[in-house]
Amino acid sequence: MSTKQLQASLSVIIPACVRAGSTVAMYKEYKDFLSTFVSNLQFIIVVSIRTQKLIGAELEQMSENDPNLSLLVMSRDFGEATAIKAGSSQATGEFILILPPYKQVDTTAIPKLFDFVDDYDIVLAKRWPRVDSQSNQVQSKLFNYLLRKFSKQSYSDIGCSVRLMRATVMQELNIYGDQNRFMPLFAHEIGFRCKEVEIPQAIMDSKTRIHNPGTYTRRLLDLLTVVFLTKFNKKPLRFFGLIGSASILTGMLGLFYLAFERLVLSVPLADRPLLVLFSLFFVLGLQLLAIGLVGEIVVFTHAGKNKEYRIREVINFPDAGGASKE
């Protein structure tokens, strides 16, 4: 455990949207521990209208007595990423630490993250060693495996909410809804450096969780959205074009084969369901291509304001010699 003092100011954001029951206790635990080595510490707790009934009153009372605690109430449940983004607008620190409102990792190991802030822009916690059930671990592994396969970026525990980042990351990151999980992917896309650090998992986090099918479907959709947004956001036709032309090609080859059978081998055509199938492929491909094209039009018409690149800095020495003499 690192004992060095952090000189820079730190803003801690706790999005209390789900599993928020123990928020108050966790806030006290985080505060007691972090204040021992961070001198300039600010806490921002974001609660949604749903969790406000549960913990709002108590938090409000606490924030009145504590100038370093701000409370943000979202008028509706907009999702965790929106909550974090809203919280970050109140953050004044040079660094932002995002912590879950429930005990996910060993609090005393969190300072380990600060050892990497010099070389990286985002430091992610990876729950390791894990103490939870096999079923939890299998779910988590499968999800992270899919993510690695699709995104070609290597994260092994995207489900862990403990994240430390520079304040600039949050300013530039445009996330909403439930995209908080995928924050490092978006950050990587706009050129920030990410690093995973192993933090022991808390015993409290080991409860076996089986979600309902809807949750899994949503996760998978989120994953596909993120992959699409990070990889094809400037070239939708490359994505749709590939699937679309494959479908068109299948349809055309099939139709040619049927035509060949009809014309050369004289097999009756009009009563064959295969005709419908191949036509369907053809038509589907056409539709996919057309959607890709509409996507390209969207990108084209908005290219003026969505710049593709991110500049770290522009280096110029205005007082240097060599200016033209005329």
Binding site: L275, I297, T301
Partner: protein, 324 residues
Amino acid sequence: MLRKIDLSVVVPLYNEEESVGHMYRAIVDAVNPMGLNYEIMFVNDGSKDATLEKATELARHDSRLNVVDFRKNYGQTPAMAAGIDCARGELIVTMDGDLQNDPSDIPMMVAELNKGYDIVVGWRHNRQDKLITRKIPSMIANRLIGKVTGVPIKDNGCSLKVYRADVMKNLPFYNEMHRFIPALLSVSGAQFSEVKVKHHARQFGESKYGLSRVYKVLLDLMTIKSILSVADHPIRWFASIAMIPMILAFICIAFALLNAGNNLVIGTTMALLFFSTSIFLAGLGFLSELVFTTGSINIGKLVLLTSKPQSLHEFKQGSASHEH
């Protein structure tokens, strides 16, 4: 006092630590005699070698040199776009950072531009590259691009180009579109000219582009072509495409009704399939019309872009003659 800048030279750099010094001197040697007030924009596209350090060191001794540093590697087109966005010159020169283009062509190209063109494009007529992997694919690509876009440029891949900044700055410019700039600009009625430029064999480093570009160029070409032809009237374009399945649907329904009895099911199914596709495509037409209306760039604005600089140009010439 801030002086007006006449010329900006934009050079994307990716792992060019050996070339950057030579490049800088070659540009200075070529542009200095022109007596213009100029700036150089080096765009460091996430190089993994010492390119940034070398460029920064050069900038320390020359206030005309700007180094735009990217957070990561984004590719040649974004690097050029960034250089162009940051440039303050009235004319913009873009060129490769690998010394294959020769900055000594710049004065000649600027002179050509001043004859009244909006863009002057370089043509590497004596190209020093590998025949099989570079020259032949590029020849085919150029023919194809010329045919499809209707802009007969002999060498679209040449980065050495000179533009008027006001034409260039508002152009939607992303992906690997730098190849299609003349085509994009042609919609707006920009005047362009193509001149022969020198081309040298690669001295340092390795070529960063291979054959894999072919498929990307093809898809990009498809995109450009469709955007350019859709741009005026998306509805009309999509409606004419939607006509094809509509006609097929009528053929199928007619066929099914005429041969009523044994194959009614397949016939009507096909008819419904084509009919729904037709509706779907027409719907997409409305959608793109909506996108075009709400978007920040449309062809109408593109046309305004080039009509403005030309009148501006005449105006400037007029005011210049008054002064003399």
